[in-house]
Symmetry: C2
Subunit: 288 residues, 2 copies
């Protein structure tokens, strides 16, 4: 069905649980690990996955309607311009929107700040049968919060453990958690920010504050390294997705989703009613 081995690609993105310190600078941002072809082949490979992706997603949705308790939570993190939005459009957009729940987390509101950091995240969790997608997430609370010192040091420390406990509980309840860091280089980000400034249809995506954050690039990379190392658990492993090549990023996320869906071994829910009896009811009905 596909010209590459799904498992090769997903394995090459996964940070093995138990990995100690992570060195993001050692992970090539412009690479396409696990895939041999070029852009054209990569785009074709993603489209070739689409029918199976849509079919399995519908089965998961059906299972949720029929009493199943499983669902998927895809967590997208990455620096500005790393392509979280593009992934939503190009990859998540391949499946039926009825079965998808996307939440884009912004700076927390006053009400949200008056609760534990996981409060608003918990409220946004997908229902059973759904594909939930977080565009940014609770990880902001150990990323920007660490870099910008938005919380005391010991609170940041506490959060790694809190996240692990929360994700473990979620996984135990039936959620498959797929955490992805979209990994771009600082040079690629610069190019993408400049492209926004060169195109008046993209001004709305540009925020001068993004450049303020960019100036803290090394601190953010370090915060990612720490967050990934501290929260890379067996039940909720991290994937670092080289994202300078947009087509590879889209293919990689599609592959991770398909891999998770395949592992569910999804059938179709059996009838919980008497099929023949229902047919007779319809065929023998009195005129309406």
């Amino acid at each position: 069905m596909t010209a590459f081995a799904l498992s090769d690609l997903t394995t090459s993105l996964r940070i093995p649980p138990g990995t100690g310190a992570i060195d993001l600078s050692a992970i090539e941002t412009n690479a396409a690990p696990g895939f041999d072809g070029d852009k054209k082949a990569g785009e074709a490979a993603l489209l070739a996955l689409a029918p199976e992706l849509a079919d399995l997603q519908e089965r998961l949705f059906a299972e949720g309607r029929a009493g199943g308790r499983r669902n998927i939570l895809l967590v997208l993190q990455g620096m500005d311009t790393s392509g979280k939005g593009g992934t939503l459009r190009s990859t998540v957009g391949l499946v039926d929107p009825q079965g998808v729940r996307i939440t884009s987390f912004k700076a927390p509101t006053r009400e949200e700040l008056a609760h534990d950091f996981l409060w608003r995240i918990t409220k946004a969790l997908p229902e059973v049968g759904m594909l939930g997608v977080f565009d940014r997430s609770h990880y902001e609370d150990v990323l920007i919060a660490r870099v910008r010192e938005l919380a005391p040091k010991d609170e940041i420390e506490r959060r790694y453990d809190a996240i692990n406990a929360w994700e473990a509980e979620l996984a135990a309840e039936g959620t498959t958690i797929i955490k992805c860091m979209l990994h771009i280089s600082a040079a690629e980000q610069k190019e993408r920010l400049l492209a926004r400034l060169d195109d008046e249809t993209k001004y709305w995506k540009y925020n001068p504050g993004d450049v303020d954050e960019r100036e803290l690039w090394p601190a953010y990379q370090e915060a990612y390294e720490i967050a990934i190392a501290r929260t890379n658990t067996k039940v909720a492993p991290w994937h670092v997705v080289p994202a300078d090549k947009k087509w590879y990023r889209n293919l990689a996320i599609g592959t991770l989703l398909l891999d998770a869906l395949r592992s569910f071994d999804l059938g179709w829910p059996p009838a919980d009613f008497d099929v023949e009896h229902e047919k007779r009811r319809l065929l023998d009905e009195k005129p309406l």
Copy 2:
């Protein structure tokens, strides 16, 4: 761009405000008003609309991010199997899922029943810039609620006015409301229910309770006629969409969405920062 006049199609679906009694039985369910071609041409016409639909939806989303207050609320109503889900997949699925918020309303929970019927509906309203889609809606509270006598008669009566006031307020705040009844015949429904019973990949969509509702077909048609007549306002008009032909239903909804988006005359938000200054910041930055 398209082989048919958008405005002909949308006009032919719209129930003119001020129309008195509605007779649904006089509206052909198997027709394709405002479109001359066959299924193949209709599917091609929808795909031909897709790029403009996606482009304008992105502009609306951008406007919302830039302080705009407009959005769209598409209300889908119809008997079981009328194709609300199919419309979500085939038409709503044409635009970026980031900009879409779908809510599928089920039987109200105990908490929801402890509030006014518009409470849960209000909570599900789309943010500015978004395309909100209701798969069922507050109209259930004057449809099944009327047919099944789930509320006293005078409460049902009160609700028509409450809905009109609520929708008028919504429209005044910047929401374009597009209300659609997906109109199928009883014979078509029977065929679709039987098809579900003949296909084990569709059992999960079948609910014996749907046949109980079907037996009340004339009462439901009457409830729709009354609801449409009572809530067909200038700011929130009803459209009756012949829906026996799935391809026409999809095209019709796509056309209504495009028509609304075109009427917004959407540009791109201007920069609210100094473009040249931002370019210099990036080009002259110190090494990170």
